[in-house]
């Protein structure tokens, strides 16, 4: 059976060029870049080149830092805990932190942990479009008491893109640092730090055809960061631990390719996404969450009435199609995906939501085949369903 992968918001295939770029740095040029001998120094040009590509990719200034780390979860933890250490643990006046109800667990669970330590966290709700309105942030922010604002740039479940430029303006006016989780933005839409004046952003290479387990934390010049991991002097003392050279080099290549392909993403990937979305919407009682114009070009979150998400995912998987559900039934904890709850449409999305996310490797044949697979699964499961008795299509 030829499988079809429409779960690219979870992770992506490593690009063959990325793999090739990494290859020499496992067994040939394996020196520790901190060593003074030739084994160490011969790695430097490729590392510098990778950093250049990553800086260019997000239009960072040479005076800014991009701390190379293990993943976006680490980056998010670093920023949030650093703000906590600096402002709150030290007994400062800025003792509140602001985030949203649609964050990835890498942010929301970090804040929940800080809540347990007694921090006051303000959780901003979404508007009818599924976005955090700038006014909502403007109302909650307080120059005297807000230590940090953390917002998701593009949401991993819905693909909805938040008005981050406006957030940055509001935060600047109030003198509060802004942290953006840009994991689902990088490689899907332009990310330009000259334009979006955020102080911190985080990303993970495996979401844009790089390897898993390497990421970046952008720190705009003038911002301090207290390391999450103390130890050696790597990353100018901001993140200890021997740098994963092959993966950094892989991330550099992946960034270069991702940026080159932004146009393709915006046109061809979008076209295929729209084709799939139109086909889904032609099925009875299917709802897609969020306006197309407000979403990343590769993502669809749809609700299929009368079909429980885990059963749906099961049927799709039986036919070789990989997607993702936030269904409560599919999670270890039986809890509905918080984004689904925040976006609540009559309490059903939490059980009937299915996410399809494409990549630049998705082909039209795959989309055509996926449409058939989805229709088959919908027909079978609606025939079993006790809550959907209508004939469909």
């Amino acid at each position: 059976m030829k499988r079809i992968y429409l779960d690219n918001n979870a992770t992506t295939m490593v690009d063959a060029d990325v793999k090739a770029a990494m290859d020499p740095f496992f067994s040939d040029m394996y020196g520790n870049p901190n060593s003074l001998h030739s084994f160490g120094t011969e790695v430097h040009p490729a590392m510098r080149e990778a950093l250049d590509r990553i800086y260019e990719g997000i239009h960072a200034d040479d005076e800014d830092d991009i701390i190379i780390n293990s993943c976006a979860s680490e980056g998010n933890n670093t920023v949030i805990k650093s703000a906590y250490y600096e402002n709150i643990l030290s007994g400062g006046k800025k003792n509140r932190m602001i985030t949203s109800t649609i964050e990835h667990p890498a942010v929301s669970n970090t804040y929940r942990f800080l809540e347990k330590l007694g921090v006051e966290v303000i959780w901003l709700p979404v508007n009818k479009d599924g976005l955090i309105a700038p006014e909502t942030l403007a109302e909650a922010i307080d120059p005297d008491t807000t230590a940090l604002v953390s917002m998701i740039w593009a949401n991993n479940e819905t693909g909805l893109i938040n008005p981050v430029k406006e957030y940055a303006e509001i935060c600047r006016e109030n003198g509060v640092p802004l942290h953006l989780d840009a994991v689902q933005a990088v490689g899907k839409i332009p990310v330009d730090m000259r334009d979006v004046k955020a102080d911190f952003i985080t990303f993970s290479a495996h979401k844009f055809h790089g390897p898993k387990g390497i990421g970046g934390l952008y720190v705009r010049q003038g911002n301090d960061i207290i390391p999450l991991i103390h130890g050696g002097e790597q990353m100018a003392g901001r993140r200890a631990g021997t740098i994963n050279t092959p993966y950094l080099i892989g991330m550099g290549k992946a960034m270069e390719l991702a940026v080159k392909n932004l146009d393709y993403e915006d046109t061809e990937v979008r076209k295929l996404r729209d084709k799939l979305e139109d086909a889904l919407l032609a099925i009875d009682d299917v709802q897609v969450i969020g306006k197309r114009s407000l979403r990343t070009p590769n993502t669809i979150l749809a609700s299929f009435r009368g079909i429980e998400g885990e059963a749906f995912l099961w049927d799709l998987n039986q036919q070789g199609l990989a997607a993702s559900t936030g269904s409560a039934c599919s999670s270890e904890s039986l809890e509905s995906n918080p984004t689904f709850v925040a976006m609540d449409i009559g309490n059903e999305l939490a059980h009937t939501g299915m996410r399809f996310s494409l990549s630049r490797y998705t082909t039209e044949q795959e989309i055509d085949a996926a449409i058939e697979v989805i229709k088959n699964a919908v027909a079978r499961l609606r025939a079993i369903s006790s809550t959907h008795n209508k004939e469909y299509i």
Binding site: A311, S330, G346, I384
Partner: protein
Amino acid sequence: MSKDSLIGGSLWEQYSDKVTKRMNNPSFMGELTEEDAAEKGAKLVVADYGADSCGDAVRLYWLVDPESGKILDAKYKSFGCGTAIASSDVMAEMCIGLTVDEAVKITNLDVERALRDSPDRPAVPPQKMHCSVMAYDVIKKAASLYKNVDMSVFEDEEIVCECAQVSLSTIKDVIRLNDLKTVEEITQYTKAGAFCKSCIRPGGHEKRKFYLVDILADTRAEMEHEKLNTPPEEKTFSELTLIQKHKAVEKVIEQFILPILNADGGSVEVVDMKEEEGSTAVYIRYQGACQGCAASSTGTYEVISDTLKQKVDTSIIVYLL
């Protein structure tokens, strides 16, 4: 926590083959109509349980012979995950041939057991147990409709969790039947508290009459009280199932033997039990400090063997592995 818990996404790997098969090819899925009933001279019963908004809903159809009260045919429809569909499928099959009164006695545990590939390996991971609870509730609903009585005849229909439609008696039952000790376990088994969470403890977004924390505390207290006040089970040791025997042995080890061994940094685990002609073999293995200790093969062994014979049953023979 354990090695197995370190890699996520193993939900489906924990389903038994029977669950997989039933999910892919449910045999009792479908509807029964008044025409089907008329043909067999039977009464049609259609019972609904759950709702879309809880993520689980099942409709059960029965054709009941009015003379004998026997269920002649059963079918179902299900809005639910794979486990819910597989459980409903087994449940419908189990109903056929039983009288309504017999069917009401089917529990979620029977449904789950029927889905096991081997008797000692659960058919589904713990958090999916709730799906079989649903199958058990709908039978009561069908029986109440057939007998034209309130469901409260079979259970006291005090709904504790509105989102998942879980009643007070269901919660008390699963606590007792499964010896649940935490609210999280109640949620895994029944789904109560999995959604809006109002029913877990006071202070949620909606005020409730009952809270899971209180029900758990009260039921555990009742269970303790009963344990102290009821004379030992009338059943003799030899009449117990192997699982019950195992529990009895474990309990005595925990209460009387481990305290002694733990004091010396040792421990013991029951590795296996087998029923033999006139005796019950208990295979044990030493752990911790007991392992290397020479005395463990004689003194400790005798203490364990004597204690089990005295406190559990004289038919026990302890084997040291």
